[in-house]
Symmetry: C2
Subunit: 154 residues, 2 copies
DNA sequence: AGTTTAGTTCGTTTTTAGTAAAACTAATAA
DNA sequence: TTATTAGTTTTACTAAAAACGAACTAAACT
C-alpha cells in the first residue's frame, strides 16, 4: 500500500535490515538508510543522533566507518560549524562497481587448491574445481567488460 | 615460495579465513577448506575432527550446516558404516551462480528510496540514485545473460 | 543382551561484536 | 577566559554467536 505519507522510522528500520546484509552494523545501516531517505539528504551529527536515538559514540563510530568506506562524506556551510553528512553517490557507485568485480578472493582460493592437488588421483574432483574456476573467470571477464561498456556510455 | 611439500594445517587456516568472509563460522570454513585440500577429497567425521582438533558437536553442526546449504554431501562405502563427507562441486557451482545474480535486494532498496523522494528539491541527489539503479539494472541483465551463455556452452 | 561406533542434542562456557556512558579535545562564541 | 558546541576516544557493559563437553541415540557388531 502506498500512501505518500510515510513513517520514516519504519522505513529506515526496514532498509537498515537490507544494509546489514552488506556487513554493516545496525547503527551504520540505519545511518545510511536515514541519509538515503531524509530531506534534505545532508544531516548534522545531532539530526542523526536524535533520529536514531543512539549514543554519540555509536553515531560517531558509524559515520567514521561509512566515511572510511567512502560512501559517506560531509559538507559544511559557512558560518555554521556543524558538519552535514551525506551519502557520496559517486563513491557509492564506484564501490558497487568494485564489489561486483570482486570474485577474485574466492577464485584465488580455488585456484590454489587445484595447484596443491596436482598429484591427486581424484580426477573428477579436480575437474570440478577447474570448472568452478572457469566459470568464475568467465564471469569476471564478462562483468568487467560490462562495466567498461557502461562507463563509456556515461 | 612454492615447495610442493606444504603444511596442510597452515593452508587450511589460510583458506578458512577467506571462507569466513562468506558468512561462515571459523569451524565451518576450516571444514570446507580441509575438504577442498584433502586427498582423498572425502573424509570421515573423525578424520575431520582429528585434523581440526575441534569438538564433535562443532564438527557435527558445521557439517550439517554445510550440508543444508547443499555445498557438502557424503558418500558411503558398503561394509563401512562411516559417512565420508565431501564437497558437492555441482551444487557449489550452482550456488555461486545464484549468488552472483543477486544484486536485487540492494536495488529494490534504492528504488524504494527514490520513490519516497519524488517531491525532493534535491534533484542532483535523486539523479544520483537513478544512476545507481540504472547501473545495477544494466549489470544484472548482463550478468544473467552471461550465465545463460555459460550454461549453454557447458 | 551387551558393547562399540558414529554421530546428535542439549545445556554451558567462551568469545566477540555492538553499543553505550563518560571523560576528553578542539574550535568557536560570549 | 570561560562556556558551549561538535564531535572523538577510551573503557566498560551486554547480547549474541561460536564452540565445547557430556549425556544420549541408533545402528551394527560380538
Amino acid at each position: 500500500m502506498k500512501t505518500g505519507i510515510i513513517n520514516l522510522e519504519q522505513e529506515v528500520e526496514k532498509m537498515g535490515v537490507v544494509f546489514e546484509a552488506f556487513a554493516k552494523t545496525p547503527v551504520e545501516s540505519r545511518v545510511f538508510a536515514f541519509l538515503l531517505l531524509s530531506e534534505p539528504p545532508h544531516r548534522s551529527f545531532n539530526d542523526i543522533r536524535d533520529f536514531l536515538k543512539a549514543s554519540k559514540s555509536s553515531v560517531s563510530l558509524a559515520l567514521n566507518k561509512l566515511m572510511n568506506e567512502g560512501i559517506v562524506t560531509y559538507i559544511t556551510f559557512s558560518g555554521d560549524r556543524k558538519r552535514y553528512f551525506q551519502i557520496n553517490l559517486d563513491k557509492w557507485l564506484l564501490s558497487l562497481e568494485e564489489a561486483t568485480k570482486d570474485l577474485t578472493a574466492l577464485n584465488m582460493v580455488v585456484r590454489e587448491a587445484l595447484e596443491l592437488r596436482v598429484d591427486s588421483k581424484h580426477l573428477v574432483f579436480n575437474e570440478g574445481l577447474e570448472k568452478i574456476i572457469a566459470f568464475q573467470e568467465f564471469l569476471e571477464l564478462r562483468i568487467s567488460e560490462a562495466i567498461e561498456e557502461w562507463k563509456k556510455a556515461h
